[in-house]
């Protein structure tokens, strides 16, 4: 009896079990990892596939339709990576701004007491979030932007075009900032600095005397109004070079390609539907009593929003909002479906195809997205710990 108890107790010892389980899992994982590595190396050797990251220094040899940094086909795959990454960040960045604006607008509309407004906002949300994003990208591209008339149907040959829309995109003039433009730049900078100073001053003054100062209006005047005035006074020192209609296409000018527009629209409108829900939930989560208490204290609606509702709602809104931003960034990879040259389309697409090093190329690409997502979650943890409401 005692012997049996002794033998069973070792197996039933929870500490022993813990270690045993973990060792088993670790062994399994090591075996899996090892066999995958072995297989991969064996397969690569058998198939004569090159390995390593040396390809990043090799000439790419293909052209990319849109690039934020100078790029030509003679550049390396490393450069292709940079170009793709920047294009991804561009569409994601603009998309985030646009999605936030639309999302907050729709979210607030959903809470409107106006029946028409809230129901239309609701229809928007339901439609856009229940239709696959890829479909929306294809829709904007294939059904909306591509059928636009071509440049030869829209523009006369050799005419100068300051603004035009065709199936090659939205074209505007290229602009050169002349020397005098620096006055305007300085005014804007000064305006910003001054507004920051003014904000502090008005805070102090309010603390000291209770008087309030319309910082927003004066600040807008300083940052926008004054520079416009200076700009005009300094003789409008900006030179527009219009695009010119060539034999095939518009040349010169700045063209926003339809691929970019389609991805941007789809990403922004899709994500906006989710953001709208987050905003609505965030505002609704705040007890109506908060509004009533503010009103009873005599606060105006604007002040109530600014001092009571928004600070509380933002605590609820920002974490899911951040993960929507991350989703948008990851979803921008769908640009590959319509030839927008983002990171996945150029680097994990064309470059991978030309050099055949799928493992390395995809590993680099995935690392980029993984880092973005780790950064985002680090931010969210920081934010959550910072704004957590103090409770008993």
């Amino acid at each position: 009896m005692t012997e049996r108890a002794a033998t069973t107790s070792i197996l039933n010892n929870s500490e022993f079990r813990r270690i045993l389980y973990q060792l088993l899992i670790a062994a399994l994982l090591i075996y899996l990892g090892w066999s995958i590595v072995e297989n991969t190396i064996a397969n690569m050797e058998a198939r004569d596939i090159r390995t390593g990251f040396g390809f990043l220094n090799e000439t790419a040899g293909f052209s990319i339709m849109m690039s934020l940094v100078p790029y030509e086909p003679g550049n390396t795959y490393g450069r292709v990576f940079i170009v793709g990454l920047l294009n991804t960040l561009l569409v994601a960045g603009v998309g985030v701004v646009l999605a936030t604006i639309v999302g907050f607008l729709v979210g607030v509309m959903r809470l409107s007491q106006n029946w028409v407004v809230s129901h239309l906002a609701n229809i928007y949300v339901e439609i856009f979030r229940n239709v696959p994003l890829l479909l929306q990208i294809l829709f904007w591209y294939t059904a909306v932007l591509k059928p636009l008339p071509g440049p030869r149907q829209v523009f006369e040959r050799n005419t100068e075009i300051y603004f035009g829309i065709s199936n090659r995109g939205i074209t505007g003039p290229e602009f050169i900032l002349l020397e005098n433009f620096s006055f305007t730049t300085w005014t804007i900078l000064l305006g910003i600095l001054f507004t920051i100073g003014m904000h502090r001053w008005s805070k102090h003054r309010q603390a000291a005397t209770g008087q309030q100062f319309p910082v927003v209006f004066v600040g807008l005047g300083l940052i926008i109004g004054l520079p416009i005035l200076i700009f005009l006074l300094s003789g409008a020192p900006i030179e527009f070079t219009p695009a010119k209609m060539g034999r095939f296409n518009l040349s010169g000018g700045i063209t926003i390609i339809p691929e970019f527009l389609a991805v941007l629209l789809a990403l922004a409108l899709y994500t906006a539907a989710f953001i709208a829900e987050i905003v609505r939930a965030g505002i609704q989560a705040i007890n109506y009593g908060q509004t009533e208490a503010s009103r009873a204290l005599g606060l105006r609606n604007g002040t109530t929003l600014k001092m009571v509702i928004i600070p509380q709602a933002m605590r609820i809104i920002i974490p899911p909002l951040t993960s929507q931003y991350l989703n948008l960034t990851k979803n921008s990879a769908l640009a590959a479906a319509i030839a927008y040259p983002d990171l996945v389309a150029t680097f994990a697409g064309t470059a991978l195809n030309q050099n055949g090093q799928a493992l390395e190329t995809l590993a680099i690409t995935m690392t980029v997205y993984l880092s973005l997502s780790l950064l985002t979650s680090a931010f969210m943890n920081w934010f959550n710990s910072r704004v957590k409401l103090v409770e008993r």
Binding site: A208, G289, A293, R295, A296, R300, L389
Partner: protein, 255 residues
């Protein structure tokens, strides 16, 4: 009770409600309300739940909108005019059943928010006032804490202090003790009694009949959206006239 000022000797009524009617949708929630309150009066409003008593005092600072009749507070008629509403809300403080403190602001910030933004007081002055009222409600040491760190009774006292910081002429209390545990009710009532002693005009919706007896100089009984009976407290409790009042009192005093 006889030390209380005689309402009839006062010149100007501070709240005048005439033939006021209110509906929620098709539900006639307040019917033909006539009420006059003069400065320094302390009125307790009681009645069964759903009788419209909360709605009535919420009409006084326009948290609810009435559809017929007239409400004049501090000489200003309540209409859709925002200027009027703002004026009235500045002069009328309100304490809610669920305190409605701002959880993201400290106790002190809760108290100074409105004075700074509405009364446009300097911060230092607002804070001094706030500390004065926090002392009066006996929790000055909690000034830097957040509402979430306080007990219910403490929170309600902060809410009272917060309203007082606006230096209102009238205070409305909407069942201030009914969300509290029994041991905390007394601390809140004590604060309210002290406040009454300063001569503040108060309208209190409550079921605390002890409070009504000792503090109020008028008790109003409401049922079915109407004022059924009002009287001085001793008359009201000892000699109720209406059958409905008798029934209500018999139920509530059994406890």
């Amino acid at each position: 009770m006889n030390t209380l000022p005689n309402p009839e000797s006062r010149a100007q009524p501070v709240i005048q409600i005439q033939k006021m009617n209110k509906w929620f949708g098709q539900f006639h929630v307040l019917k033909e309300i006539d009420l006059e309150v003069v400065t320094g009066e302390r009125i307790v409003i009681c009645g069964p739940s759903g009788s419209g008593k909360s709605t009535l005092i919420r009409c006084i600072n326009r948290l609810e909108e009435h559809q017929e009749g007239q409400i004049v507070v501090d000489g200003v008629e309540l209409t859709n005019d925002l200027k009027h509403i703002e004026h009235v809300r500045r002069e009328v403080g309100m304490v809610f059943q669920h305190f409605n403190l701002f959880p993201h602001l400290t106790v002190l910030e809760n108290c100074t928010l409105a004075p700074i933004w509405v009364r446009k007081q300097p911060k230092a002055e607002a804070e001094a006032t706030a500390m004065k009222y926090l002392e009066r409600v006996k929790i000055p040491e909690q000034a830097e804490k957040y509402p979430g760190q306080l007990s219910g009774g403490q929170q309600q006292r902060v809410a009272i202090a917060r309203s007082l910081c606006m230096q209102p002429r009238i205070m409305l209390f909407d069942e201030p003790t009914s969300a509290l545990d029994p041991e905390m009710i007394k601390e809140v009532l004590d604060v309210m009694i002290e406040l009454a002693d300063t001569g503040m005009t108060m309208l209190v919706v409550t079921h605390e009949m002890g409070f009504a007896r000792t503090v109020a100089n008028r008790v109003i009984f409401m049922d079915d959206g109407q004022i059924i009976e009002q009287n001085k407290p001793e008359e009201f409790f000892n000699n109720p006239q209406s059958d409905r009042t008798k029934l209500f009192l018999s139920q509530i005093l059994q406890h």
